[in-house]
Structures are given as structure tokens and as C-alpha cells.
């Protein structure tokens, strides 16, 4: 009897493990897989481990996955300062990179948008006062054919985080300027 129970538990676990691999979030998965996994397996699997799907960031090694950098300043200041974790090395630096990457990635995830930037900004109030600007830059990697040409860092995300009356933290995301067609007024046309 105990072996029958253990067999059932093993089969359930191995099924969950398989779903974890084929339904990892980084690559996307079929709706059926994600629903079955989310409803039946995630509630008991997630508390015991992270369920990252063994589909890790480094296994992609994409040129677009370059290093990120956090910069902050009191709102209104001209000069940006390096954010916390800038001088970190080794595994510590990798954890800071994951945090910045999660900040960017969560902006396109429903329900998570703005959560991390607001929290990180609020965490910087002790450094910069209760009205801060923060930006995340990407440091592009040189191409193998022209390694001496290192592109300039590019800003990926900018926001202002401040404490408003009542103690609430407000996030004001700065949208990148986009090229738009000029508005040409037409005589007699609708304004």
C-alpha cells in the first residue's frame, strides 16, 4: 500500500516536472499546458521551489540581453548617480542584474506593471529624498566582427517616483519621445 501511494505521488510529480519544462514562462507555452499546470500543479509545486522551468536566462545568450545599469537622482537634478549595486561583482552582480531585468520585463506583464520600479524608487528615498528619478540603461555588447566598437549605453526605462500626500508612493513613467507626424491645420477643417 505505501508503495502504491508513493507510485501515485511519483507519477504526479514527474508529470508536474514535465509540464514545468514544456510550459516554462520564458518561451511561452500552449494554453492547455499553462492552464493545466497553473490550476493543478503550480499551487503545490511553487511553494517548494521556484519553478523556473530550467530554462534559464544564460541558456539564451541573446545579443539583446546585454548588461543593465541603474541610475538615480533627486528629481530636478541634472546629474545622474550610479544606483545601488553598481560596483557589485560575481554572483552579487548577477542578482542585481536579475532585479533590473525583472523591472523591465514586468512592465509588459499584466498585474505587475509598475510594481518593481515603484518599490525600488521608494527604497531610494533615503538616498535621494522623497522625489527621485530613476533610469535603467542597457550597455550594448560589441559585435564579434568589430569588438573595438562599443555602442553607447541606451536608456530603456525612466520614471519619477515620489511620495504624495497621505504617504502614498506615486510612479510617473516617462514615455520615450516618439516621432509623430506634424499636425497640419486645414482651412475650414475640423479642429
Amino acid at each position: 500500500m505505501p508503495r502504491a501511494v508513493a507510485t501515485v505521488l511519483l507519477v504526479v510529480y514527474l508529470t508536474g516536472l514535465t509540464l514545468t519544462v514544456i510550459g516554462n514562462t520564458s518561451s511561452g507555452s500552449a494554453l492547455l499546458v499553462s492552464v493545466v499546470k497553473g490550476r493543478l500543479f503550480s499551487p503545490w509545486m511553487t511553494p517548494a521551489w521556484l519553478d523556473l522551468g530550467f530554462d534559464y536566462f544564460f541558456t539564451y545568450a541573446q545579443p539583446t540581453d546585454a548588461a543593465l545599469r541603474l541610475e538615480v537622482r533627486p528629481h530636478g537634478d541634472a546629474a545622474w548617480q550610479s544606483g545601488p549595486g553598481t560596483g557589485a561583482t560575481g554572483p552579487r552582480a548577477v542578482r542585481w542584474q536579475r532585479l533590473l531585468r525583472a523591472m523591465l520585463a514586468s512592465e509588459s506583464e499584466p498585474g505587475r506593471e509598475g510594481l518593481l520600479p515603484a518599490a525600488v524608487g521608494a527604497g531610494l528615498f533615503d538616498w535621494c529624498g522623497e522625489d527621485v528619478d530613476l533610469q535603467v540603461l542597457v550597455v550594448p555588447q560589441p559585435d564579434r566582427q568589430a569588438p573595438e566598437v562599443v555602442p553607447d549605453p541606451a536608456v530603456l526605462y525612466t520614471a519619477r517616483v515620489r511620495r504624495v500626500s497621505g504617504g502614498e508612493v506615486q510612479l510617473i513613467k516617462t514615455e520615450a519621445r516618439r516621432e509623430v507626424a506634424p499636425v497640419v491645420p486645414t482651412a475650414g477643417g475640423a479642429q
Binding site: 508503495r3 508513493a6 507510485t7 511519483l10 514527474l14 516536472l17 519544462v21 520564458s26 518561451s27 503550480s42 499551487p43 511553487t46 511553494p47 517548494a48 521551489w49 521556484l50 519553478d51 523556473l52 522551468g53 530550467f54 530554462d55 534559464y56 536566462f57 544564460f58 541558456t59 539564451y60 545568450a61 541573446q62 545579443p63 540581453d65 548588461a67 545601488p84 549595486g85 557589485a88 561583482t89 560575481g90 554572483p91 552579487r92 552582480a93 548577477v94 542578482r95 542585481w96 542584474q97 536579475r98 532585479l99 525583472a102 505587475r112 510594481l115 518593481l116 515603484a118 518599490a119 525600488v120 527604497g123 531610494l124 528615498f125 550597455v139 555588447q141 560589441p142 564579434r144 569588438p147
Partner: protein, 308 residues
């Protein structure tokens, strides 16, 4: 078209599958290989936990970058963390210190049955307190710790074993739960390698052999700086890239066959840490090596042979 012999053949095939399953999961196994895994897991816990220490307050402190409410809204609904109740800097440090102590006790093997469960639960709690900070080494270490908690990992090479001998208590014996732990280690060692291959084969850079270049030129966390040699030799870049994929395939397959198991597992003790260095995930490389450790036959017969 069926023949009269076919039902008998089907029944024999099913019986053979049943016997293989029974032998793989339920043949009592000695716990000496698992003791090595326990020691390594304790040391790895100290190392991986140590990477949190310097930034613990700035991340998880009361005025930290990752307040409990934000993380609770961000992480999976089912995830919970014992660290959530640590509302002060002192409490966060106390909980963290307790976890480090548990890893120390696990490494030396004191009160192993209790300590191993607490260490696994504590480690997962730390990860769920800041899941956006966690990576491959943390994820795989959690698996390692749960496997150690499942088996009788304190029966050898431990303070527990010494105390048992001193007090004249029952000595170590082969156990089914140890076999279950070893089986799960083997499954995960192969599945993680296979999952890495699947992920890599989706990316052009692993096909055209330039993945190593993009991994090496990303500076944060880099351990080996191979930019110059890789710039000079495209062949080297290709060889390292394809070598990593090839190695993962070898592990995913080779761990399952008796003639290759020990060889692959011994190779894993060297190759995985090297892969970890190359991809700037050294702790992950060591964790992967430890997953294969019981099958290297360092302390006698390999686990597959014990099962058979």
C-alpha cells in the same frame, strides 16, 4: 491483425515495466552517496546564501527596495516565505543567520532529519522573499536540498553517525526513501540538462556557434574573461558553444545507461563547474555536478547497479 500470443506479450511487457519501475524507485539503497550530496548541499547553501548577505538590508529591510507587499503582489499566488514576517532589520538578519546555521549543521550532519527539512524550507523561503533575485543555482539548490531531506542523508560522514556509534544505536541500513532521493537526483540531473538543450536550440546563437561570445562579453558576474581568445578564433568560440550543448546532451542521455553512467557522472564533476565558469554561473555549475555526484561511484558501486 492480432495473434494469440499478443495479449501474453503485452502482459509480459507491462510486467517488465512494473519490475523496472519497482527496481528503480523501491530497491533499498545505501545512503553513503547521499551523505556526500548532503555535505556539498550544506556548503553550497552557505556559498549561495552568502551572495545575499551584503545586500540583505537594502533588499529586504523595512525600508528596502523589495517590500513584502510588493513582492507578495509580484510573485506566484501560491508562494509563501517565512521571511515575510521579518519586519525589522534585526529580524531579517536573525532569520538569515538561522538559515546559514542550518546549512552549517547540514554540512556536518548534526540532527540531519530535522535540519535538512528546515534548511530546504528556509532556503525556499529566502528565494520567495525575492524571487526576482533568484537564478539557476538557487533553483537547482532547492531541488538538491529537498532530495537530501527525503533520503537518510545523515547516516554516514556525519556527526549523527558518530553519535550513533558512540551511543550504540542502530547503524545505517539500505532504505527505500534513500533510493527515492537518489532516483529523483538522477531524474533532475538529466531533465535539467535536457531542458537547457531545448532552450538553447531555440536560439540562433547556439546554432551559429556565437553564444559564447555574447556570454563572455556580458561583464556582470563574469568569472573568466575570454574576450580576446574568442575574438581571435571563431573556431574556439564555435567549439565552446557547441561543446556546451553537446555535453548537456551527453548528460541527459548518458546517465541512464549502466555502461556510461559512471563515466558521465565523473565527467560531470569536472565539466559542469567548467560550464558554470564559462556561462558566468559558477554555483549553478557546481550544483549540477553535485546532482550527478551519487552516480560517480566514488564511494563504491554506482546507484544504478545497486538498484539493479
Amino acid at each position: 491483425m492480432t495473434t494469440p500470443e499478443q495479449p501474453a506479450d503485452d502482459a509480459a511487457a507491462l510486467a517488465a515495466i512494473g519490475r523496472t519501475w519497482e527496481a528503480f524507485w523501491f530497491t533499498p539503497a545505501g545512503s553513503r552517496p547521499l551523505a556526500l550530496v548532503r555535505m556539498a548541499a550544506g556548503i553550497l547553501g552557505l556559498l549561495a546564501g552568502g551572495t545575499y548577505a551584503q545586500d540583505l538590508t537594502i533588499w529586504f529591510g523595512p525600508a528596502g527596495l523589495l517590500p513584502v507587499e510588493t513582492v507578495a503582489a509580484w510573485r506566484a499566488p501560491a508562494a509563501v516565505s517565512l521571511f515575510d514576517v521579518c519586519g525589522t532589520t534585526t529580524a531579517v538578519w536573525l532569520a538569515f543567520s538561522c538559515l546559514m546555521l542550518l546549512f552549517g549543521l547540514l554540512a556536518i550532519g548534526l540532527l540531519t532529519p530535522v535540519v535538512s527539512v528546515l534548511a530546504a524550507a528556509g532556503w525556499v523561503s529566502l528565494l520567495h522573499r525575492g524571487p526576482m533575485l533568484a537564478g539557476p543555482a538557487d533553483d537547482c539548490l532547492a531541488i538538491l536540498l529537498w532530495c537530501v531531506a527525503l533520503g537518510a542523508a545523515g547516516e554516514h560522514l556525519s556527526v549523527d553517525a558518530w553519535l550513533h556509534r558512540r551511543l550504540g544505536w542502530a547503524g545505517p541500513r539500505p532504505r527505500v526513501r534513500t533510493r527515492l532521493a537518489l532516483g529523483l537526483l538522477q531524474i533532475h540531473a538529466a531533465v535539467i540538462a535536457a531542458a537547457a538543450v531545448l532552450a538553447q536550440l531555440k536560439g540562433d546563437v547556439w546554432w551559429n556557434g556565437t553564444a559564447m561570445w555574447w556570454l563572455t562579453t556580458r561583464e556582470p558576474g563574469r568569472v573568466l574573461n575570454l574576450v580576446e581568445p574568442l575574438r581571435q578564433s571563431e573556431y574556439l568560440c564555435n567549439a565552446l558553444t557547441l561543446g556546451i550543448v553537446g555535453w548537456e546532451i551527453v548528460v541527459a542521455v548518458g546517465l541512464w545507461f549502466a555502461p556510461t553512467q559512471r563515466l558521465v557522472a565523473r565527467g560531470a564533476l569536472v565539466a559542469w563547474p567548467l560550464v558554470g565558469l564559462l556561462v558566468a554561473e559558477p554555483l549553478w555549475g557546481v550544483v549540477m555536478a553535485v546532482l550527478s555526484l551519487p552516480f560517480a561511484g566514488l564511494l563504491g558501486r554506482s546507484c544504478l547497479k545497486q538498484a539493479g
